[in-house]
């Protein structure tokens, strides 16, 4: 069987057991239960700080009824950022490269925001389909365009995360292969390629965090529109 560079994204199985189950259950070991003491250890203190600051940042611009979403959006942030960051370690599998997982998260959450908007304030929610100050002749066209852009949102959310992470992992594999192959032939070029690989890995760390944040931020914006 010829290997291609895309094989790293196949949902791995070992003797028929899907290993994505392990990739989805083991990261939460890194989030221990806080003790009842007044001061916890460094890890817990940092996680506590992150959770509280993140929740405050995301929900500051959102109206009060939207604050019910605090738990689910913070859990989503922890979910995505842990999976993304752990996937950058060697020999790990990143579940967020799977389009199925990202669409499974994006579509229901987006749909929930739309349904909330349509049920509680339908006029206000539908009003987003027509920007203020449109010339009268453009109204039909613009409503069609805005409806399309509304329905593309979940697709964009899921595919954005998938594509960013897949492309990053693919680039890492390509450049690492190049550095490895060049090592016996042109060592200097191999060293330069390794430096490039180091910089790329740093970029991927940033991308992992940013993409998780963008996913949750956009969902919070969709929530704010509808609440």
């Amino acid at each position: 069987m010829t290997l291609s560079f895309f094989d790293q994204f196949m949902s791995p199985t070992l003797l028929g057991i899907p290993l994505i189950a392990l990739a989805l259950t083991l990261p939460w070991v890194l989030f221990p239960q806080p003790s009842t003491r007044w001061m916890n250890n460094r890890l817990l203190t940092l996680q506590n700080w992150f959770i509280s600051r993140f929740t405050q940042q995301i929900f500051q611009p959102i109206n009060l009824p939207g604050h019910k979403w605090a738990l689910i959006l913070t859990s989503l942030m922890l979910f995505l950022i842990s999976l993304n960051m752990l996937g950058l370690l060697p020999y790990t599998f990143t579940p967020t490269t799977q389009l199925s997982l990202n669409m499974a998260l994006a579509v229901p959450l987006w749909l929930a925001t739309v349904i909330i908007g349509m049920r509680t304030q339908p006029t206000h929610a539908l009003g987003h389909l027509l920007p203020e100050g449109t010339p009268t002749l453009l109204i039909p066209v613009l409503i069609i365009i805005e409806t399309i852009s509304l329905f593309i949102r979940p697709l964009a959310l899921g595919v954005r995360l998938t594509a960013n992470l897949t492309a990053g992992h693919l680039l890492i594999q390509l450049i690492a292969t190049a550095a490895f192959v060049l090592l016996p032939i042109m060592p200097t070029t191999a060293i330069l390629t390794s430096i490039l690989l180091l910089l790329l890995t740093l970029l991927e760390v940033a991308v992992a965090m940013i993409q998780a944040y963008v996913f949750v931020l956009l969902l919070s914006l969709y929530l704010q529109e509808n609440v």
Binding site: F6, D7, F9, M10, S11, P18, I20, A21, L24, T25, W28, F31, Q33, P34, L44, Q47, N48, I51, S52, L71, I72, T74, S75, L76, L78, F79, P95, T97, Q98, L99, S100, L101, A104, L105, P108, T162, T166
Partner: protein, 55 residues
């Protein structure tokens, strides 16, 4: 592209939502924060002038 292989799609959907709904929220909720947020009132508090009770 192996991500487009539809066979584990439903399983991945179900499993990821199970993890997302059952494992993560208790971990997030377990974190408590010591200071309750205080709503700020717009008026400055009325203070009475006072002197150091030296003697």
């Amino acid at each position: 592209m192996p991500q487009l292989n539809p066979s584990p799609w439903f399983l991945i959907l179900v499993f990821s939502w199970i993890v997302f709904l059952t494992i993560l929220p208790p971990k997030v909720l377990a974190h408590t924060f010591p200071n309750e947020p205080v709503s700020h009132s717009k008026q400055k508090p009325q203070t009475e002038p006072w002197n150091w009770p030296w003697h």
